[in-house]
Every structure is written in structure tokens, then in C-alpha cells.
């Protein structure tokens, strides 16, 4: 909501033009012949033969995999590949045409059906890379482990070795070997190789739709060379992440608000491999209504994304389109959309019997086969004889067969031994790095930090909740939780030039909860901006941004909106570090605000959902001191952190840390719970804002019943160090684990189960979980019945641990009631 953009009622209500005009979207306009292209000097004969070679290589590669899946071997050498194989035979011209104009600075992202694309981009990279550089890449990759296998018995040129390396690395990855491009942890649907500009393929249809946009954002913000291509299927155009990613990439602000170098469109190209089918559904005529995927461009911006539909059965047509689109992106006129018509011969996967199409249809497309057709054109144009083409085929067949044999040989291509070394994969889940800055430039800021109005305001505040005389400080003068988060973030903005933050209102307003107040003055638009209301794009783009090497703080305004970016939070963000074989880092700190007061869709604590997913770190501080220290740690780290903040506590002062919140930089390591109050009769372990209600319960318990509660704040849920809790339970023998999440299926139960396990002999009563009711969150006026209250702690102590004399329970925590509620599903 920038003030500079005036919404004029005159223009808005009484526009001059009374219809929306769409630009025309070209369809199949390429008409040139091979001879034309040769005449124009666009290709040499060698270029054309390499295009043929690359297409054939993909075909033979996919044929090999298909034979392995369907006949259990290739050229008579048996192998069983239990993993997936989504093959792209038929789409070779589209893949090779896509890659032809790209260099290694240009990144491609793919789908589950991307073997062809990675081979095409890899082969192209090998062709254009200087030999020395290619050698260096191969020798440094896994310390030479991959190239050493590809080199076995080979004495040819570096470029030829490069081809062997590419094919071997890809097969080894598909067959889950440690010499594969991602140590076998990615597999068929996720194979990639960043030194060739090949970024992750994605097994979630459309997953790359927002990630690639984030990669383009990284290139733009960090002034990096190259464009980004997202290769998606026609079916993916139905997916939210694609549509949200396209929305994000279409933002007006790139042109209206971003300044200087940063002004202009994102260098991203959505490349639709329009192979006609989405699983068994037919996109044209059945499951979609766009007729052509290219039409979608018209919905996003006045340029209709410069969309075009091109003939993906002619590699030269695709190359022509890419040449023009790339030039456009380099002029900052992106984004762009290509709809590349192609056809997949194979089913969705080898288990697909193609029952949804006729043999005639497949035969008709095979008659148009892009490789045969291109071969004929080359012969007609006098570029090659059939014998030349046969020789190319024979050579590539031989190479693939050789690489196949090496990749299935357990001696040279071993798998990870996770049975013998069963911590190996566990140790790959996080990178656990400590990095001051991911940027190599001077951080771009608009003013010295000390001149910032927010910084000045904070300087006048008391950093502890009591003043020197022990009297409570007024809320206006008290350093609060949002100040703690702000200090950590602004510090990092001045340290790390790569850091960007965005979300649904992050700028002028200072964020919905005023945490970012003051950042607007400090940062240019490209480092802090408002995103569309598109959570999938907010997180998806952050993933792409981090994958390419940048640090990012995306914000999800309410915890309840996590579902809107479920795939990104659960399937993408946590997975890529391990799935890449630790090649990628994921320095993403997702700020998530946990609400209350606003009813059932704005008041839920979903920390448990995040703890369930391996690969995420989950933090939930509730004091200013912890917020600043944990945010500093999260931002210094290299792992994805979901950083929860409670809306109940933004205004709260520091009540625990002696001397208040330090002015300087400090880190609190993730994973360490903190004893907020010592006691000896019962332990309260809390998650989130429940801490303050637990403290109130501890007061009541002490005052009325002489029992002293030890109150521990979990602070971090993943990782979590149980040692302090065990020590406490050894002392007290009793523990209540409390938080605001609905109790059923929550992380509270996980803690309780582990504590029961680890402290069994020390327990005087079973650990008790005190969560919210398994209801919708009622309106604010009724919340006391829903969220754990101080009295509930006493209730369960009396009911389940040690009867309190003369105690009158406020709620029903009897076993009978517990069983009854479970029976009712509440």
C-alpha cells in the first residue's frame, strides 16, 4: 500500500477504454527449413548434427530405462529398477530446443518427467564449457568419485568424457548410487546437477512453478547473470503453485516501485512441455478449458507473458522461440511463457497401459517422430547421410550401454549403507552451517542504522520489564517482543546483502503486527516488499531464492494460512538439502504468526504439523530475549527454520533474562529448552504463549498448596534437547506438557511419550498433556474454554498426580471423560 500509487477514482470509475484488450498469442508461426537456417548462418552443420545426437541420446536413455522397467534388463544385461521412471520419449525436440540457447548461468527447473531436459541441458553445457572448466567441474564433483567411474577404460576427449560423466551420473542417480548426481538421494524425479545450471526437478506436479520464480528473484536482486526456465507439463498449469508463481512473477511493482537496476521484469520463462496428457486426463478437451496452455499468459499481465505456442516436434522451431524469449528476458521484459507442443509416447509411467488413447493416435504421432523427421531434414539439406546418422546412433547406444553397466555394478557404483551406518542420512537432514552473509556485495540500505527512527525509538526503551526501582515499565517505554525480532532482522539486513523479506504486507504498514516498522525507511523495495496474497508463491519463491544461494525471510501472516502453502512447507522446503545430497543449502527463516481472538481460522497453533515433517527446524520463542537470540541463530544458520511468534505476546517485555535484552548481537542455540522458574514438586513444560498461563498456575499452586512448580519453556521444538527436562523430572517426578495446539495429534504428545520413555523410573504419575480442546477455536469471548488455563494445571495435578486437599476442580479431567471425548472424536 505505497502512497506513491494513487488510486484515482476518476480513472478507476470512468476509464477511457471500455474493454480489456488482449495481445494476440502466436501459434506455430515458425516456418523455416534447415536450408533456410543454414543460409541465415544460424547453425553450422556440426550444430545440427549435435542437435540430432542430443535428441537421440535422450531417446536411447529413455528406451534403456523403459526396457529395464518392462523387461528387467537392457541389451541382455539384467537389472531391476524398483524406482519410478516417468519417461519423455517423444519429447526430445522440445528438450533439446529448450536447452540450445542456454548457458550454464541459465538455470532450468523441471518436473517428474525431466530426464530429457537434464540430458539436453547437460549435453549443451558440455558443448559450450571450455575444456578446462569442464574438467574442473567433473574432478571436483564428489571429489572425482563420479568422473572416475565414467573414466574407466576411456581415452577420448574431455568433451566425450563429459558426455559419459553426464549419462553415468544421471543413471547412477536414478539407480540410487552414491556416485549419482545427488548421492542417489534424489532419484529419477529429482535428478539435477547445478554446475551445468540444472536445478531440481520436482516430483510434485507444478512444484517448480513458484520455485523457479524465486530463482529468478535471486538473479535479479543479486545481479546474477542468466535466466531461469521452469519446465512444466501442460497438466501443471492447473496447479496453485504455478498460478501463484506466475502471479508473483507478474507483480507491477517490478516496474512501478523497484528502482534503478532493479526496475523491470523477472528473468523467468515458464516453458510448458505440452505433451497432451496429465496422468490419464487429456488437458485439451477434457480436464482443462484453455485449449492451449499459452492462453494462460493473457490472464496475468497486459503483455500476456509474451506467450507463444510453438512446434515442439521441430527442434529448430523451439530454438527460435527460446532465442527470442531469452533476449526479451535479458532486456528485463519478462516474464515469458512458451507452450511447446509435443507428445509422450510412453504412459505416465511404465504401469500406465495407455488405456485412455488409441493405438492409432500413438502410431500417428510416431509417424511424425521428431528424431526421424529431423534426420530426414538433415539428409535432405545435405548435412548428413543416413550412414552418418547411424554412426551417431551407434556411438550413443554404446556409450549409454557402457554407462548402464557401470551404474549397475555395485563395486564401482555402491549404494549408501544405511543399515551399517544408520546415522548417515540423519546427518544429512540439516546443513547446520553458520554463515554471516550469503551475499558478496555490500548490503544495499537507505540509511545508517543509527539514524533509523525505529532504532532511535528502541534506544529510549527499558530493556527489562521492571525499572531500576523494580516498578513495572509502561508499555510504551518497554522494549518488547517485536523489538527483539526487529533487532535481529535489521542487524542481518545490514550484514547480508542477499537477505530479502516479503509477505502479505511487510512494508509501509511495518507488517501486520508492526515488527518491521522502521525497515521501510532502511531498505529499498527489492529487499523488502509486499507480495501478492499467495502463500504458495511466498514460500515457493523463497525456496528457489535460497536454492540459488540467497537468504530469505518469507512471512506467513497467520499460522492458519500454512495450509495454503502446505506443499511448499511440507514437501519442498524440508527436503531439498538431503535430497540434493547436501549440495543445496536452504537458509530460509519462515516467520509465522500464531493468532488468537479471531476465531476458528485465525487462532490455531500448527507448530505440530511442522514438527512432524523431517527436515524443518521449528522455533517458538515467547520472550523478547529468546526471540532476538533465536532469530539471530536462525538467520546465522543455513537450514529452513519455521519461526513461530504469538500475537498475544508482541507487546510483552522481558521478564526473565537478568539485565534485560542485551543491545548487542548474541545467539541462543536452537534446541535448548529454558528453565524459566525453578521448582521441585512438579514440572510444567510449555510450548508458546502457554508459558505465561503456566507461570500463573505455578503461583496459584505455591500460594494455595505450597507446591513449587518448575516451569520450562521449550523455546525450540525441533531440534529438542531432552536433558534439561529429564533432570527436572528426576527431581519432581511429575510433568505437565502444555501448549495451545489442539491436544490430539500434537507435538505435546510426542514430548510426553518421549519423557515417559526416558524418565519412566522417575515418574510419580504419567506425563500429562494439556492442550487446547479438539474443537474449532471459538470467538475471543469464549476462548477460555478452549485454550489451556492456569486452573487446568491444578485440575490435572489434583486429578492425575496428587490430590490437592479441599480442591474443587474447574474442569472435568477424569479418565471417564477423557475416554468419552475420544469416543466422540473431540
Amino acid at each position: 500500500m505505497p502512497k506513491s500509487l494513487y488510486i484515482d477514482p476518476e480513472i478507476t470509475l470512468r476509464p477511457k477504454e471500455h474493454e480489456i484488450k488482449f495481445p494476440e498469442i502466436p501459434v506455430m508461426q515458425y516456418k523455416k527449413t534447415v536450408k533456410d537456417e543454414l543460409k541465415e548462418g544460424n547453425f553450422t552443420k556440426e550444430d545440427l548434427l549435435r542437435i540430432y545426437r542430443d535428441m537421440f541420446t535422450i531417446r536411447e536413455f529413455e528406451t534403456m530405462l523403459n526396457l529395464v522397467k518392462t523387461t528387467g534388463g537392457y541389451n541382455g544385461v539384467e537389472y531391476n529398477n524398483p524406482g519410478p521412471a516417468h519417461l519423455s520419449a517423444g519429447q526430445e525436440a522440445a528438450a533439446v530446443g529448450m536447452a540450445y540457447n542456454l548457458d550454464t548461468d541459465d538455470f532450468i527447473f523441471g518436473s517428474h518427467r525431466s530426464h530429457g531436459e537434464i540430458l539436453a541441458k547437460g549435453l549443451r553445457s558440455i558443448e559450450i564449457l571450455p575444456e578446462k572448466e569442464l574438467e574442473k567441474i567433473m574432478n571436483e564433483f564428489w571429489g572425482g568419485a563420479t568422473v572416475n567411474v565414467a573414466k574407466k577404460g576411456f581415452k577420448g576427449s574431455t568433451k566425450e568424457l563429459g558426455v559419459r560423466f553426464l549419462i553415468y551420473g544421471a543413471i547412477a542417480e536414478i539407480f540410487a548410487r552414491t556416485t549419482g548426481f545427488n548421492k542417489g538421494l534424489g532419484g529419477s524425479m529429482h535428478t539435477f546437477f547445478t554446475p551445468f545450471g540444472i536445478y531440481p526437478n520436482n516430483a510434485i506436479v507444478g512444484g517448480s512453478g513458484s520455485i523457479a520464480v524465486g530463482a529468478a528473484l535471486y538473479k535479479k536482486v543479486n545481479c546474477k547473470k542468466g535466466i531461469v526456465v521452469a519446465n512444466l507439463g501442460d497438466g501443471a498449469m492447473a496447479r496453485g503453485p504455478v498460478l501463484e508463481g506466475m502471479t508473483f512473477a507478474s507483480m507491477d511493482q517490478f516496474h512501478t516501485l523497484w528502482e534503478g537496476d532493479m526496475k523491470g521484469g523477472l528473468p523467468v520463462l515458464i516453458n510448458v512441455m505440452d505433451n497432451q496428457y496429465a496422468m490419464g486426463g487429456q488437458t485439451k478437451g477434457e480436464t482443462m478449458g484453455y485449449t492451449f496452455p499459452a492462453r494462460l499468459g493473457a490472464g496475468f499481465n497486459p503483455e500476456a507473458w509474451h506467450a507463444e505456442r510453438v512446434n515442439g516436434y521441430d527442434p529448430l522451431a523451439v530454438i527460435d522461440a527460446f532465442r527470442r524469449k531469452k533476449a526479451l528476458l535479458e532486456k528485463k521484459e519478462g516474464p515469458a511463457l512458451l507452450d511447446v507442443v509435443t507428445y509422450r509416447y510412453s504412459g505416465h509411467s511404465p504401469s500406465d497401459q495407455s488405456s485412455y488413447r488409441t493405438k492409432e493416435e500413438i502410431a500417428a504421432w510416431e509417424a511424425e517422430d521428431c528424431i526421424i523427421a529431423f534426420g530426414k531434414k538433415l539428409i535432405e539439406a545435405g548435412v548428413a547421410t543416413q550412414k552418418d546418422l547411424d554412426a551417431i546412433q551407434a556411438k550413443m547406444k554404446e556409450t549409454i550401454f557402457e554407462m548402464y553397466k557401470l551404474a549397475i555394478d555395485p563395486e564401482v557404483s555402491p549404494r549408501m549403507d544405511l543399515v551399517k551406518d544408520n546415522e548417515l542420512l540423519g546427518d544429512m537432514m540439516y546443513s547446520n552451517g553458520s554463515v554471516d552473509s550469503f551475499g558478496d556485495a555490500k548490503p544495499e540500505v537507505l540509511m545508517p542504522l543509527e539514524e533509523n527512527p525505529r532504532v532511535k525509538q528502541i534506544a529510549g526503551k527499558s530493556r527489562f520489564y521492571l525499572d531500576a526501582e523494580g516498578k513495572p515499565v509502561s508499555s510504551m517505554k518497554m522494549y518488547n517482543f517485536r523489538d527483539g525480532v526487529f533487532e535481529a532482522i535489521v542487524d542481518r539486513f545490514y550484514k547480508d546483502s542477499s537477505l530479502v523479506a516479503y509477505g502479505e504486507e511487510n512494508r509501509e504498514w511495518g507488517g501486520a503486527f508492526a515488527v518491521y516498522r522502521g525497515l521501510t525507511e532502511a531498505l529499498p523495495y527489492h529487499r523488502l516488499f509486499n507480495s501478492p496474497i499467495a502463500e504458495a508463491a511466498i514460500i515457493g519463491t523463497a525456496i528457489g531464492y535460497a536454492m540459488c544461494g540467497g537468504r530469505v525471510i518469507p512471512e506467513i501472516m497467520y499460522c492458519d494460512f500454512l495450509g495454503c502453502c502446505g506443499d511448499e512447507i511440507f514437501n519442498q522446503l524440508p527436503k531439498w538439502q538431503a535430497m540434493s545430497g547436501n549440495i543445496l543449502k536452504m537458509p530460509v527463516v519462515v516467520r509465522v504468526s500464531v493468532g488468537s481472538k479471531y476465531g476458528a481460522q485465525h487462532s490455531q497453533d500448527w507448530t505440530s504439523l511442522c514438527t512432524h515433517i523431517p527436515g524443518l527446524k521449528v522455533v517458538f520463542p515467547v520472550t523478547p530475549y529468546d526471540a532476538k537470540g533465536l532469530m539471530n541463530s536462525a538467520l546465522q544458520g543455513t537450514d529452513p527454520v519455521i519461526f513461530f511468534e504469538s500475537q498475544r505476546l508482541y507487546g510483552i517485555g522481558e521478564q526473565f533474562h537478568e539485565g534485560g535484552v542485551p543491545e548487542g548481537y548474541y545467539e541462543i542455540p536452537l534446541g535448548e529448552p529454558d528453565v524459566k522458574r525453578a521448582g521441585k514438586d512438579v514440572t510444567f513444560l510449555t510450548i508458546g504463549a502457554t508459558l505465561y498461563r503456566a507461570l500463573k498456575a505455578a503461583d496459584m499452586l505455591k500460594e494455595k498448596y505450597g507446591l513449587e512448580a518448575e516451569v520450562i519453556d521449550a523455546r525450540t521444538l525441533v531440534p529438542f534437547n531432552y536433558e534439561k527436562v529429564i533432570e527436572s523430572v528426576k527431581k519432581t517426578g511429575r510433568i505437565i506438557i502444555a501448549g495451545d495446539a489442539s491436544a490430539r495429534g500434537s507435538f505435546l504428545n510426542d514430548l510426553a511419550a518421549n519423557i515417559a520413555d526416558l524418565c519412566f523410573d522417575y515418574l510419580d504419575a504419567a506425563p500429562v498433556v494439556l492442550g487446547s480442546r479438539n474443537w474449532i477455536t471459538p470467538c475471543h469471548e469464549l476462548e477460555e474454554a478452549f485454550f489451556p488455563q492456569p486452573e487446568w494445571f491444578l485440575d490435572v495435578i489434583n486429578e492425575k498426580m496428587v490430590p490437592l486437599p479441599g480442591y474443587v476442580p474447574t474442569g472435568n479431567f477424569t479418565n471417564a471423560q477423557q475416554i468419552l471425548r475420544a469416543k466422540k472424536g473431540v
Binding site: E708, D761, D764, A765, P803, P805
Partner: protein, 465 residues
């Protein structure tokens, strides 16, 4: 001025002793060196000699009482002197853990909300968590056998020797919780605790000071076996003595928890026989003052061998080894009370005469039951020698005194044919050596080399006296 006689502390692990018999009664006159009373631990018996001269003014216990160590036992002085101030009930004698002084254990009567943590600690006697008292009302009166108990309560009951069947639960649904066990854990004497820990016994009403449960108060011995017909007519069931049970436990434990096997080897005994002759002569001639036996020479040779094999002079802890710098030699002694293994600490520093004397002294003390109990523990020794030669046993398989790594059994002398230098067989006295070792600690090769070394030392022993 009247002198008080206290119960001595015999060893680190001893908490109390039982007075077997008072040799003096009130009014008797006493000289220095007179035996005042005999007393025993579960491992040994002792006699307390008077350090002073005078008249017995007071005796605070009777025969058979278990007395916490360092407690006042009797007073000796001049007739007419005051002694009441020495009475244990008047003194705030809290030296004996588990036997707190004067005040009643009163936590069950503590009124809720009025008791602040700390003020009741003295009343609890041995209860570390006095604060738990403040938690609640009096536990309900009835103890229900088989009532549920929290894991923490179970653990504590085991530690405190409390039978949960006798405890009334005050937790939710009558569950026995920690505080109930604490309330039920009446103070026990050391002996009572040790007996309880072995199981089968429950505390009866404490007859000791402040309700302390003594060994004699323990009730209901539940035999550990199945009854068969014929009791009384065909056979008699006799409870094992405490010492017997201890031996049984440690021998069983040894065989259960280590990997032992025995190697046997003979040693030409002519050399030590000659030495024995020489020593006898030297004793008769008054050149030495010790009767050095064949066993002493064997022990001396063993010590020399151990110095060359530090791995054998060790404890095996399963995942670690204790390698001893000195040789702490255990020597099995058969006594009326049962097998005892006194340890000679630092035996490698002794010459043959001192070693002989120490071994004799230890054996005598064991037979009398007055050996320091701390030196009877298996942990005190680094290696043990057991000699059955005197009984004509040729070979045997001694059981390791765990955690020690090995034990050497010494058999009798047996004449065996041996080729002499002339190629003729002659009969030579051979000493049977049986080395049992823990294969977890030592491999067969090393064990054999060590045993051979013992034999070599025996065959080549040189001793000057």
C-alpha cells in the same frame, strides 16, 4: 571424668554392628585391655577392648542389639559420676544414617499447609525430600496389597527397603506415589537394610531407637524355594546364614557374568621345596622370624609373574579394565563361617618374610572374624590365589572373585616322571597350577604365557634370608 565407649566404625560400608555379648555389666571394674563386648558385622566379628580403667557406670544396650556405629555404647568412670548425658536418647546423635535421634517420624501427622519445607527434615530421618510432606493430607489409612504404584514409588521402595504391600496409597485412585513410600520408609539399621535388599523380608514394628527397624524386627521370611513333602521328617530346611548367602550370591554372580575357563599346568617344585627346607632351617636357627610355607613361596612367585603381566593384575568391567599399579593379593581362607578372601594391599612391595607374616596374620584374623571388612571385598583385590594343596587336591577350577580378571588355584605336590639331563626318566614333584581367567579380559595365549611364567618363577625362585 567418665569416659564414653562408642561403637567403632569397622570399614567404610558398615553402618551398624550387632553386640554379640557384653562381657562386663554395670558396676564391674575394668582394666585397660579388658574385653568390654564382642560385636559383629555381617562379615566379621570383633572385640572391643577397654582403653581406660574404672567402673562400668552405664550400658545403653543389651546383648543382641544392633547399634549404629559411632553411637555411645557404655560409660566407664568412677562410681557416682554422672553418665545420663551420654545416653543415646538424650544426645542428638545423628551420626548413624537411618537412625535419627529423638523426635518422632511425624510426617504423616503434618498438617497440610502449615508445614514449610525444611522444618520437618529432622523428623523424617533419612527422608531427603522433606518438602514432599507439605504436599498433602495424611495418606489414607488402609494399605491394599497389590495397589498400583508409580514407577518412582517402586524405585524408591526398592531403595528404602519398603514393602509396597504395606503402604497405603494417597495418589489418584489410591495409587502409591512417592510421598507414600517416604512416609512408610521407617528408619532401618544397616543390617536391616542389607537383609531387606536381599528380598523376602519386611520390616516389623521398629524396636530400636525412634522406631528404627533393626535386623531382628524383620519378619516373614519367605523361602526362595518350592516346598516338597518330608519337611521335618526326611529333611530339615535351614535358612542360609547371611555370610553363606553372600558367598552364594557372589559365586553365582561370577559364573553368570563372566566368561571363565581354566588352564592347568604343572610346575617343577624342587626349587621351592629346597627353599622351604632352607627357610625352616633359618627359622630354627633364629635367622628369620617367620614360618615361610610352600604357599608363601608360590604367592611370592605369583606376584613376580603378575608384575610382568599387568593385564592379569586387573579388574574386568565389561567395557573397561582396571589395571592395577600395585599387586593387591587376595588369598582364599577357609573359615568356620565360610570362605573368606582377605587382601594384602601392595603385596608386591613386600619381601618374602613380610609377605609370609601378612598372609598368616590375615588368615588368622579371618578365622577369628576380625579382619577389616573393607579388605574382604572382591574390589579390594587385583588377583587371588586359592590353595587346596593341603587337602590333597591336584587340580580344580577355582571361581573368579569378580570383578577380578583371574584366580590361581594351587594344588598338591604330585610326583611325575620327567626326563633328566641324562635322558632318563626320574620322578619329580610337580605342583598343580590351575588358572581360571575371564576370557573377556584375557585371551588364551596371554593366560597361558602368564601361567607358564608363574611356573617359571616357581622353578627359578631365588630368595635371600
Amino acid at each position: 571424668m567418665a569416659q564414653v565407649v562408642i561403637m567403632p566404625k569397622q570399614g567404610q560400608s558398615v553402618e551398624s554392628c550387632i553386640v554379640s555379648e557384653f562381657k562386663k555389666k554395670v558396676g564391674d571394674s575394668v582394666k585397660v585391655g579388658d574385653i568390654l563386648f564382642g560385636y559383629e558385622t555381617d562379615k566379621a566379628t570383633f572385640e572391643e577392648e577397654s582403653q581406660v580403667e574404672g567402673t562400668v557406670l552405664a550400658i545403653f544396650y543389651k546383648d543382641g542389639d544392633e547399634i549404629p556405629v559411632l553411637s555411645n555404647v557404655m560409660v566407664i568412670g568412677q562410681p557416682g559420676e554422672s553418665f545420663a548425658e551420654f545416653a543415646p536418647s538424650a544426645a542428638s546423635n545423628d551420626a548413624g544414617k537411618g537412625a535419627a535421634g529423638g523426635t518422632e517420624p511425624s510426617e504423616t501427622h503434618a498438617t497440610f499447609g502449615t508445614v514449610r519445607g525444611g522444618t520437618v527434615s529432622a523428623a523424617n530421618g533419612g527422608v531427603e525430600r522433606s518438602e514432599t510432606v507439605s504436599e498433602g493430607s495424611s495418606p489414607s489409612a488402609a494399605a491394599i496389597p497389590g495397589a498400583p504404584a508409580s514407577p518412582r514409588a517402586r524405585k524408591l521402595a526398592e531403595e528404602k527397603g519398603v514393602n509396597l504391600d504395606t503402604v497405603a496409597g494417597s495418589g489418584p485412585g489410591g495409587r502409591i506415589i512417592e510421598r507414600d513410600v517416604l512416609a512408610a520408609a521407617v528408619p532401618l539399621t544397616g543390617l536391616a537394610k542389607a537383609k531387606m535388599a536381599e528380598g523376602g523380608l519386611v520390616a516389623g514394628a521398629g524396636s530400636g531407637l525412634a522406631g528404627t527397624v533393626k535386623g531382628g524386627d524383620l519378619k516373614t521370611w519367605k523361602p526362595n524355594h518350592t516346598d516338597i513333602p518330608g519337611e521335618g521328617t526326611e529333611f530339615e530346611t535351614v535358612k542360609m546364614s547371611n555370610m553363606r548367602k553372600l558367598i552364594a550370591k557372589s559365586m553365582y554372580n561370577s559364573l553368570q557374568n563372566s566368561a571363565q575357563l581354566t588352564h592347568m599346568l604343572g610346575a617343577d617344585a624342587r626349587k621351592i621345596q629346597a627353599l622351604r627346607k632352607k627357610a625352616k632351617k633359618a627359622l630354627e636357627e633364629g635367622k628369620i622370624d617367620a614360618n615361610i610355607t610352600i604357599n608363601d613361596f608360590v604367592c611370592f612367585a605369583v606376584i613376580k609373574a603378575l608384575q610382568k603381566f599387568p593385564n592379569v593384575n586387573s579388574h574386568c568391567l565389561g567395557d573397561a579394565m582396571r589395571l592395577f599399579k600395585a599387586v593387591n593379593l587376595g588369598c582364599a581362607v577357609d573359615t568356620e563361617r565360610g570362605l573368606m578372601v582377605p587382601v594384602i594391599k601392595g603385596a608386591d612391595a613386600l619381601d618374602i618374610i613380610s609377605l609370609s607374616k601378612e598372609l598368616k596374620k590375615a588368615a588368622d584374623a579371618c578365622k577369628k572374624g576380625s579382619f577389616n571388612p573393607d579388605l574382604l571385598a572382591a574390589e579390594a583385590g587385583s588377583f587371588t590365589v586359592s590353595n587346596l594343596g593341603g587337602y590333597g587336591v591336584e587340580w580344580f577350577t577355582p571361581i573368579i572373585n569378580v570383578p577380578q580378571s583371574a584366580i590361581l588355584g594351587v594344588g598338591t605336590l604330585v610326583p611325575r616322571p620327567k626326563l633328566n639331563a641324562e635322558g632318563q626318566y626320574e620322578f619329580v614333584p610337580y605342583l598343580g597350577l590351575s588358572l581360571t581367567y575371564d576370557h573377556r579380559a584375557i585371551d588364551g595365549g596371554e593366560a597361558t604365557r602368564f601361567l607358564k611364567q608363574v611356573a617359571t618363577e616357581i622353578e627359578t625362585l631365588e630368595v635371600e634370608f
